[in-house]
Point group: C2
Chain length 148, copies 2
């Protein structure tokens, strides 16, 4: 479940973006990849500290920024809450469960993405789309989470 191919992929992406591969960036990347939730920078910080106790929160922010910049993770933001980070690179939407605070990934078919782009009037050039839902997840009798 680990790291060598992932780390070479990371190194390539970073150098391709003019950035360096560092131990801190590697471990932050591993942590975000390691769990299918959407951790905040603080949560990433906590998880990283077991592997690298001397890392600083500022570095975690820097690393997350670097990973977002070179397209390896995505930043997810909601109303007045800390940013969260997502390793799912497929085009997808986010469902914010107001009861639990959890964020679930929701797939978006490619044709729908195209249709969304077509909403834009002439001259509008979108580089990114953000689709998010807010609500609650009804517990389905004897059925496990379909996402995640």
């Amino acid at each position: 479940m680990i790291t060598d191919t992932q780390n070479t992929a990371l190194a390539q992406r970073l150098t391709h973006s003019g950035l360096r591969s560092t131990p801190q960036r590697e471990v932050v990347y591993q942590v975000v990849l390691g769990k299918r939730d959407h951790p905040t920078a603080e949560e990433v910080f906590d998880r990283v500290k077991s592997a690298m106790p001397t890392i600083s929160l500022a570095t975690v922010y820097n690393c997350l920024d670097a990973l977002v910049q070179c397209g390896l993770i995505k930043q997810v933001n909601s109303v007045r809450e800390p940013s969260r980070y997502c390793p799912n690179l497929h085009e997808h939407a986010h469902f914010h469960d107001e009861a639990t605070g959890e964020i679930h990934d929701v797939d978006i078919p490619a044709d729908l993405i195209a249709r969304l782009h077509n909403l834009l009037p002439k001259g509008y050039d979108a580089v990114s789309i953000d689709l998010s839902f807010r609500g609650s997840v009804r517990a389905l009798h004897a059925l496990t989470d379909q996402q995640n």
Copy 2:
């Protein structure tokens, strides 16, 4: 362009939500309605001060919250930027122009809203959808802004 019918509508909405109609709430509402941009709380504060110089920023935040709560305006949030407020009650998306910082409304046809809801797996119950684009608007030769 003004206020009497709007203010009765406001008063009705507020009382219906168990809130009171106050001079501060009225003027904040008028200010948000008065311009088709998407002002921050600070910008609303600045505009309100000419009509009511003694109002406080805390009250502006409180009034905006009250108006959002009873559904008269919407709160729009982007990555690590101050919240903005929108008087457009139609279901619509937002286009964030990265060059100018402006936010433009984009209509969403009703059937598309339905299709977005259908993306959700069984058990997911969304109370709100948020669709936003980020990009730039190419100036169209001798053509004015199609929105707004």
